[in-house]
């Protein structure tokens, strides 16, 4: 009941906030608009820095009534401009609090609860509120469980994990339900791992991690092609020109190579080319998968890989990187893409180098499709997840 009342109050605040902000924007002094525009104009290789520095100096001398417009401007700003705006807010807040002035608490709360605003700016608003009134801020955390801000969501998930732990001994069913709720909401890999471990190892539950993350585990692979002298990264082998799953090609050493299926049973979706192709060195392989999108729209391809790689979506090169064996983790590389409705084709090129050390054996990647918050986007008709093997990372 208490939560419902709190929720109603928050909704009202959000509504009031939206209306209030609209009028606030309209009333913004032209000078403030110009200063924000100067900061939003910063670009590549230092472009716009001198003008932004002048605007910053003026903005950071503003009173507390500039805080909310600055926070709101973050949503429509690029990654550098966002930091300029954040820093201006910090300077204002620091000065005003030192002078025993108060911050616009109600406005900050409304801003925080407006999920249309930039997630990181909302987190900043939360941190400012917590600085002023930690107890009240803490009460808001459970409401962030499915928030678009992964940072706010993280705090809510952490509360559930703590609750789950406290229930494990005395009420197993309640603990499982609590952990399941936490897992559904969790997006940060470290939290997912903790929850999955509790559910599977402590409570004996099955956890479908590949599905939770949206890892692609069904692939067709072909290789080896050459990568002597690491030249394979730049070389264009037949799969880059056209993917024909029935074709055979001349591979490394003129050996004929064909496409073959590879299904991963790894909990974290690792596609290990060593398994079908052997533990080879100075070789290049390709992996192909199809993803059926229910609707067209923005998405992210997130890759973990310690070999040199390139990735194409629907024939367009998304990114490539020629670094070998410096480390791998889930979501190591995030690529914003646009999925078309229906079938999308993904081609991954994976180069293995000449190094012989035992930590250079891996010839693998892990790829998932998700939205900007890390929430899995699943392919229509995604097959059931193959039975998982023990996680290796």
């Amino acid at each position: 009941m208490h939560a419902r009342i709190l929720s109603s109050c928050l909704s009202a605040l959000v509504l009031a906030g939206i209306l209030g902000f609209d009028s606030a924007i309209a009333k913004l002094p032209a000078e403030l608009k110009q200063q924000i525009a100067a900061i939003q104009a910063v670009g590549p290789e230092g472009a716009g820095n001198p003008a932004a520095a002048i605007a910053f100096k003026e903005l950071s001398a503003s009173r507390t009534d500039a805080i909310l417009p600055l926070l709101r401007a973050i949503e429509s700003s690029g990654p550098l401009a966002r930091n300029w705006l954040r820093s201006a807010v910090e300077v204002i807040v620091e000065r005003e609090l030192r002078s025993q002035k108060t911050l616009p608490v109600d406005g900050l709360r409304v801003f925080l609860l407006d999920t249309r605003q930039a997630p990181e700016a909302r987190r900043l608003a939360y941190d400012l509120l917590a600085k002023i009134d930690p107890a009240s801020a803490k009460k808001l955390i459970p409401g962030f469980l499915n928030d678009p801000s992964t940072e706010l969501r993280r705090d809510a998930v952490a509360q559930l994990v703590t609750k789950g732990k406290s229930l494990t001994e005395d009420d197993k069913a309640a603990a499982i339900a609590t952990y399941r709720k936490a897992l559904d909401a969790a997006r940060d890999v470290d939290q997912v791992k903790v929850i999955a471990t509790e559910l599977s190892e402590t409570l004996g539950q099955e956890v479908d991690l590949p599905r939770h993350f949206g890892f692609l585990v069904h692939w067709q692979v072909i290789g080896p092609f050459d990568n002597s002298g690491r030249d394979g990264f730049a070389a264009v082998f037949p799969p880059e020109k056209k993917v024909d799953l029935d074709a055979a090609h001349a591979g490394k050493g003129e050996e004929q190579v064909k496409w073959q299926p590879l299904v991963s049973t790894n909990e974290y979706g690792k596609i290990d080319l060593n398994k079908p192709l052997g533990k080879l060195k100075e070789v290049t392989g390709y992996a192909y998968s199809e993803f059926v999108a229910e609707q067209a729209g923005p998405a992210e391809l997130r890759l973990g890989c310690k070999n040199a790689w390139k990735i194409w979506l629907n024939g367009e090169l998304m990114f490539g990187r020629d670094e070998y064996h410096r480390g791998q983790r889930i979501d190591q590389y995030k690529m914003s893409v646009h999925l078309k409705e229906g079938k999308n084709v993904i081609l991954v090129k994976l180069c293995q180098n000449e190094m012989k050390e035992k930590w250079t054996v891996e010839w693998e990647f892990q790829l998932r499709v998700c939205d900007a918050t890390g929430t899995a986007i699943l392919s229509t008709g995604r097959p059931a997840t193959p039975k998982a093997e023990a996680a290796t990372k």
């Binding site: 300077v91 990114f319 990187r321 670094e323 070998y324």
Partner: protein
Amino acid sequence: MRYPLPTLFAVLTFLAPSWAWADWPQFRGPNGNGSIAGNDKLPAELSKKTIAWKAPLPGRGLGSPIIVGDRVVVTAASGPEQNLLQVLCFSKSDGKELWRRSFWATGRTMCHAKTCVAAPTPTSDGKRIFALWSSNDLICLDLEGNLIWMRGLTLDYPNASNSLGMASSPIVVGDTLVAQIENDSESFAAGFDLVTGANKWKIDRPKTANWTTPVVLKSGGELIVALQSSKGVLGVQPATGSEIWNYSKGAATIPSGAVAGDTLYFPSKGLTAMRPGSGGGETKPLWNERAQNPATASPLIIDDKVYIINGTGVLSAANRETGERLWRIRLKGPFSGSPVASGNGHLYIFNEKGIGQVVDLSGEEGKVVSEIELGETIIGTASISGNALYIRSDETLWKFGLPR
């Protein structure tokens, strides 16, 4: 031969840019060799009695504190993926936090667990602070914490990163900020305008991971930046990036070189010394000593000796004119940070377990005269200013000074 202190002082003064003598404005001090003249009253004892103050830090970091006037500045990175980059400024006298600024990383923050995103040491020209993180975010603030400019170097150059983490520290040379953004993929060094952050120059560098920090030496009558890498050492003009001389016989990618006057001492096949002239081209070494083999710690130069710490924690002193080893003693390792020293004749080093050790250098051979256990992992290098020593962990910044 021993150089008289006034001579050393004069050489160091010639090399020094605009910052005041009391400052420690960059990684391994004003000369980039771990030592600073004067500071004779720096306590030789590290103990609870000599802890002047300590301050909590909000995030991970291993870059050294820098000291600019009455301020101590450190960087940090917090959050589950160290995505929140921080610059913190403390009062030198009492450790009070004066200001703190936070920025969202625009580049990749993945790194090996032993290092962290706030690995590079910031630098200063006495008026501004320049901070670089492993994410290749490069930020300039004034001494009051006002943002002057920001660069997202991975936004500009998307393959410039190292999945193990970047750690090279930027330095100020004249009116140019020099940084080595070197890695296996999009590898480069660049000079940035101090006022605007714009590129003054950018040159391709060997495509190999490299964590060394540039150093400055006098060569042919001008200040030259020495860029060390696995291929060797390249001397470039700081304002243009133009090549002046080159040493192509290879060098280490973790410990950096150290400079005394016009001579560079750098880890290459052990330790190598060279004095590049004005003629340009390929530079030949003065000497090479394979037995002097720095591990992670960079060499320290003070007076007529060069000190190195090898992979087993042995500290060696060598004659810097000949490379001849004079003595060696075993310290308590392992070490990731580098030794530092002042004019008080003592060397200071902290190991990874948080044990600080003070070595008296005045005798026939070095002698450990003081130890302190700080109880926290320390991967970084200490700083010295105003007869005080500063060291940081992920959680704490300490100042050691004379007992009150």
